[in-house]
Symmetry: C2
Subunit: 285 residues, 2 copies
């Protein structure tokens, strides 16, 4: 069985490495716009061969789209056009609504499975891929009822085999929730990084005085702009709402600090403390 | 030699545990407004005895103030009043200007050392204390020239003995830098936690869909309100400026997303990516 990984970066590479452990005879073909990424993916043992998209898809039982979400929109119609009868196409994009709407317009919609693993790091490229990224994490499948039973069986079996837990929802629900639990935290980190870099002029002071709390909060500011700009764009209505709410809370908190209103300041933080319940659950799973 | 730890929580407790390893014969006396915290500190082996502040200070060669910064302002004059000749008082507060201004008004100013370790976690209380919190971390001493040479020698020796690296600056410099590299990241996390909890009504969805990136960014929202409200209040001019700059960047980014201005969105994130240089340095040290 041949699997094509289109985009041999953090996510596509990590998926291939996890699958390889469970299915040692599975053959992996890499497709990547970057020649260097293809070479690195071969050197790391992520894929057995690098081919142009057309040739790769023609040989594959499963095609995994793991490119930035704007590139997925460009590649998906071509991949479905070229997809062999009985084969399955799968995407791992961080937004789902525009991708699913596009898929709905294609005659081979049933051969497509729209998926999104709740996993990532702030690093990117084949060098950042690692076998342990996906096992133990959650995976969302959208519009499950629009996919053919056999295509679903393949995709869901592989995700479960590498230790992922599956959840199902509409692409609209997915994009709304992701705006809050993922996209907003990336923007908050990017803006925090920028504020500290551009307003705190003494970079040595940042370095000497920053603690693990700062590192943790700003970590996502290291993330790939090429990956995130199209995510924010495709989910802009939800992201804009989430960001407006976040800015509103920050403005309220600033007013409370300016007013020396300790009681409201304490109340604000005590309400935020409830997040401990959610985080402790995430850390335990 | 007897050391009093006033406030046997995360920071005071961790300092005592680290010192105990280097100085097994050092005697530790705990002072805490909470009877339960005193009992827990005894049970954990942080202190050998719990006493009222007056008795503790009377017996001590070193008195460590590790209470919230508003309580430090209340306790510092009393501690200095009661401090034995030749003894040293030390504070570990996260703000330094108001504490140093208050110390300057006391006749025993020279027996006081104003310090702040660049370390912490989102947890609090004696149960959260651990021996490894401070070793390897940086420590700021403010207004070093106002402290007596012998008092400084004791404080600096102990910090160096447990593996801390010392830096020196004015309390004004300290509070300005901390607003950016610590206080702002706490507010950004508190506001992020609150936005997600109050706008994303489906708590199960947060739980199922949040990844390690979300956990990392929002982690500080678990921090103690009683500790942080007085920090933001004492450093409110700097915190308010930092927060205004942060809100401004977020508003710009929201506009860029609303306008579908991908070029500026990419530029914004590429500028934020420079933080990688700082963070990679912090992780290596």
């Amino acid at each position: 069985m041949t699997v094509s990984i289109i985009g041999v970066g953090l996510l596509g590479g990590s998926f291939a490495l996890a699958l390889r452990e469970k299915y040692p005879k599975m053959r992996f073909v890499g497709v990547d716009a970057s020649v260097v990424n293809g070479q690195l993916a071969l050197a790391k043992g992520i894929v057995d061969e690098v081919l142009p998209l057309t040739e790769a898809v023609a040989q594959s039982t499963l095609v995994v789209l793991a490119t930035p979400v704007n590139v997925i929109l460009q590649q998906l119609p071509t991949v479905l056009d070229l997809l062999q009868p009985g084969a399955t196409a799968l995407d791992l994009g961080s937004t789902k609504e525009q991708i699913c709407v596009l898929a709905d317009q294609h005659p081979k919609r049933a051969q497509f499975v729209a998926a999104h693993p709740m996993a990532g790091t702030e690093n990117s490229g084949p060098g950042a891929a690692f076998r342990e990224l996906l096992p133990g994490k959650n995976l969302i499948i959208c519009d499950r009822e629009k996919s053919d039973a056999e295509c679903l069986k393949l995709a869901e079996s592989l995700f479960r085999d590498i230790g992922m837990k599956l959840f199902f929802m509409t692409p609209q629900e997915h994009d709304l929730h992701l705006a809050y639990v993922s996209h907003l935290s990336h923007i908050s980190a990017f803006a925090l990084g920028l504020t500290v870099l551009e307003k705190e002029k003494d970079e040595q002071a940042i370095f000497d005085m920053a603690s693990t709390g700062f590192s943790s909060t700003v970590r996502l500011a290291k993330s790939s702009p090429q990956m995130w700009a199209p995510i924010f764009d495709q989910n802009r209505a939800n992201v804009s709402d989430a960001l407006a709410a976040y800015i509103e809370f920050l403005q309220q908190f600033k007013q409370v600090i300016d007013d020396q209103d300790i009681t409201t300041s304490l109340d604000f933080m005590q309400r935020a403390n409830v997040i401990r319940r959610v985080l402790d659950g995430i850390e335990k799973r």
